[in-house]
């Protein structure tokens, strides 16, 4: 088998897997920090129990986020050495800064937070969880800066066939980062909110510690409503930006083979990549023009026209990303996002009327706990597959980025190895989260907590 295919699969699998843990770390970290702040301000023990309960789930999740993150950093050099040589001058900067500014902060203060509960003044202990949350947020910004440069390379010059930094400020303030970072971070907060909402709903259904989980679900509802809505508006900004800077990706997201003016938004289509056509389409008029340009009149270019442009610009080749994948993952992400907004608005209305514990709503909330993971991964697949065949838009092709001296056997070994290991870890992680999240475990855990305080210790 071609090492390129294997390396791509490995990157896809390990990255998607890593991204199961990252958004929850960002979202839940912030929520735990908020809960512990409530305890600090009010002195109410309920908030202390709350912060501990969610803190445990946070820690289980955090561990896997960290270890799968190291694989990400090593993988660029291991499987994508030509990519590393080409982009290192620029791409390496945010990566190094991320480690220096964010990873040290997160990991050091997570240690302080876990082991310092009884040793530190309350204010310092509270500060440590806020620094963990800050670290994960800062980390997101730097890694998204690196990704933004792959979508929209700026501040560079090509010297001796490699990208060389020419304008650091342009890289730091990449326009793409300004749309990608808010969308990604807000989606992470939504993920954290839905996680807390879903598990709280489970406890409420079992009538376990009603007061605490009711309050948890209210905090979560506010987070989901605000972050969910803003995820949508920032997503709109990102789509408009994509229309200008990566028109081929946008056309693929819509399976828009032929240019339209005004363009309609496709709700359903069966896609034939080979023929370059779609059939059985259901379309909403004007909506794509709105999505791409915020008006009802603009033309949106189709895949065929854009491909002709690319051939003229870059020479003969296939410049069309896998349309069906991009089209459906985009629909999955948007559809789920809309669902989250509706769910949170429903919840807010029920809360307003004092009916938050309606059983149908609680059941819905439990199911929704699993959905943001799909939405997050779908979004990344849209943006990364939509950029193909490029790994750096317009500058470097994925096929030219792979390590030339790493053979298929070696990549197969690591791909299978990581996949098996990750599979086992997924089972363990899910089992542990289940044990610690379920209503009965929390009660037992509560008894275990009394006495010496180092329960977070190993």
């Amino acid at each position: 088998m071609d090492p390129l295919i294997l390396a791509r699969w490995q990157f896809g699998v390990t990255t998607a897997y890593h991204y199961i843990f990252v958004p929850l770390t960002i979202g839940l970290g912030l929520i735990v920090a908020i809960m512990q702040s409530f305890h600090y301000r009010t002195g109410n023990d309920m908030y202390d129990r709350m912060a501990r309960f969610w803190g445990k789930l946070f820690v289980i999740n955090f561990a896997l986020g960290v270890v799968t993150g190291i694989v990400q950093e090593f993988q660029f050099g291991m499987n994508w050495s030509e990519y590393s040589r080409f982009v290192g001058d620029i791409f390496g900067i945010p990566l190094a800064i991320e480690a220096l500014m964010a990873f040290f902060l997160e990991s050091t203060f997570l240690g302080v937070w876990l082991f310092g509960r009884d040793r530190l003044p309350k204010a310092v202990h509270l500060l440590s969880i806020w620094l963990v949350a800050l670290g994960s947020l800062v980390s997101a910004i730097w890694i998204l800066m690196a990704n933004s440069w792959m979508q929209q390379p700026v501040g560079y010059a090509i010297v001796d066939g490699r990208a060389r930094l020419s304008d650091p400020v342009a890289v730091f303030l990449n326009e793409r980062l300004l749309v990608e970072a808010p969308h990604t971070i807000l989606a992470a907060l939504t993920t954290g909110g839905l996680f807390v909402l879903g598990i709280s709903a489970w406890h409420l259904l079992r009538r376990h510690e009603r007061e605490m989980y009711l309050r948890s679900s209210q905090i979560a509802l506010v987070v989901v409503a605000v972050a969910g809505l803003l995820t949508a508006t920032s997503g709109h900004a990102q789509a408009q930006h994509t229309a200008r800077t990566q028109p081929m990706k946008l056309a693929a997201m819509e399976a828009l083979w032929n240019s339209e003016q005004p363009a309609s938004f496709s709700l359903f289509a069966t896609i034939d990549q080979k023929d370059g056509t779609s059939a059985r389409e259901i379309k909403l008029p004007y909506l794509l023009s709105v999505l791409a340009y915020n008006n009802t009149t603009s033309e949106v270019k189709g895949i065929h026209a854009l491909e002709a442009e690319d051939v003229a610009k870059y020479g003969p080749g296939d410049y069309v990303p896998p349309v069906a994948v991009v089209y459906w993952t985009f629909r999955g992400m948007v559809g789920l996002g809309v669902l989250f907004i509706l769910l949170s608005l429903t919840g807010l209305v029920l809360w307003w009327r004092g009916h938050l514990e309606r059983r149908w709503f609680l059941r819905l909330a439990i199911v929704s706990l699993f959905l943001p993971y799909l939405a997050n991964v779908a979004g990344w697949i849209t943006t990364e597959m939509g950029r193909q065949p490029w790994v750096v838009q317009g500058l470097l092709r994925t096929a030219s980025a792979v390590s030339p001296n790493v053979g298929a056997t070696e990549v197969a070994v690591t791909f299978i190895g990581f996949t098996l290991l990750y599979g086992i870890l997924a089972v363990l992680d899910f089992y542990l989260l289940y044990r610690f999240a379920r209503p009965v475990a929390a009660a037992r855990q509560g008894q275990h907590d009394s006495g010496l305080g180092d329960v977070f210790a190993y």
Binding site: A63, V66, T68, F74, M101, F104, T108, Y458
Partner: protein
């Protein structure tokens, strides 16, 4: 000193920090079964590094990131060349982290034994492989004109490099034992101290053999003549001092000397390489150096500003966390014991 050299020194500092810090938590992981009698012992041992190991590992991540940014060709050649050993290190680090984090989460003897195995294997394997990797780096590996590694896994598993792996395992184990001697409950601490004294002799043999072979296998010492420089001799003195001090129960000083052995040995390796970052065994012309493997001067300058601002901040708060957890992990502090 030019900016390329400054960056080379900074990356050396990151690796020195990594080997010094993770060195003792690897050591603690390696020795876990040998200094404990019951589960409470094991929890004491694990909790001595509990607040630290994760942040210690970030030194490696930062070293990797800095290498990527400052010397992309070094990063690309090294990581794609040392492919399978790095894969093994990654798997080991994952197992270890999961072992640490998940061990106490279930009250089940089999679960804990599995976690202990993960910690021991996950600490021993990287402790060995980092020695193998650094030795290969210094010894030189086949790199062609296109800066690509041309060897295979077997190229990397040569006897001298395997000996280097034994050196790093034994020094990290000593370092870990003397850390436990400082931070574990008195009983475990004394057991660790005695183990350090017993481990010292075989370690000394391995180290001496490595030292002798390095005359024929590397140009570390021959480049500067038959008499090794001040630093290798100082490293040896520190190594000898560690066992004397451990015998005298000057516990803090004993730990400092194994730490200095690691620091000095890493300095010797990086100093011996310079100005090369990855010598080629196929000819001097193919060596990767701090100049032909580096990023542009602009990137190096931007990164330097960032490093000057943030490295002191990181050192300050990491120092703070070590200060917060400076006391011994006592038996009494383990819940349910």
């Amino acid at each position: 000193m030019d900016i390329n050299t400054i960056w080379y020194a900074l990356i050396a500092v990151l690796f020195i920090g990594y080997f010094f810090l993770e060195g003792f938590d690897f050591g603690v992981g390696i020795l876990l079964p040998f200094v404990t009698r019951d589960d409470t012992d094991r929890r004491i041992v694990i909790n001595t590094v509990g607040p630290f190991w994760d942040a210690n590992e970030v030194w490696l991540i930062t070293a990797g990131g800095a290498m990527f940014a400052a010397f992309p060709d070094w990063y690309a050649t090294l990581f794609s060349g040392f492919y399978l050993p790095l894969f093994a290190i990654l798997v080991a680090l994952i197992l270890r982290a999961v072992g640490f984090e998940f061990r106490g989460k279930l009250d089940d003897a089999r679960w804990r034994r599995a976690a202990d195995t993960a910690i021991v294997v996950g600490s021993t394997l990287p402790a060995f492989l980092w020695g193998v990797a650094i030795t290969n780096l210094v010894r030189g590996v086949p790199i062609g004109a296109d800066m690509q590694f041309q060897g295979s896994l077997l190229t990397l598993l040569n006897p001298f490099s395997l000996l280097g792996g034994l050196v790093s395992i034994s020094v990290f184990a000593l370092h870990g034992a003397l850390f436990l001697n400082l931070r574990a409950d008195e009983v475990v601490a004394e057991r660790s101290r005695l183990l350090a004294l017993r481990l010292w002799w075989p370690s000394a043999v391995v180290l001496l053999a490595f030292f002798v072979f390095s005359y024929s296998q590397t140009d570390l010492f021959t480049r500067s003549g038959l008499v090794p420089g001040t630093l290798p001799v100082l490293a040896m003195i520190m190594f000898v001092a560690s066992t004397v001090l451990a015998r005298l129960r000057w516990n803090g000083w004993a730990f400092a000397t194994t730490g200095l052995t690691i620091v000095l040995a890493t300095v010797v390796a990086f100093e011996g390489l310079y100005p090369r970052v990855m010598p080629s065994s196929l000819g001097k012309a193919f060596d990767l150096t701090v100049y032909n493997a580096s990023s542009s001067p602009l990137t190096l300058r931007v990164m330097l500003v960032v490093a000057i601002v943030f490295v002191p901040i990181v050192l300050a708060y990491q120092g703070y966390s070590y200060w917060v957890f400076r006391r011994r992990v006592t038996r009494r502090s383990i819940p349910g014991s």
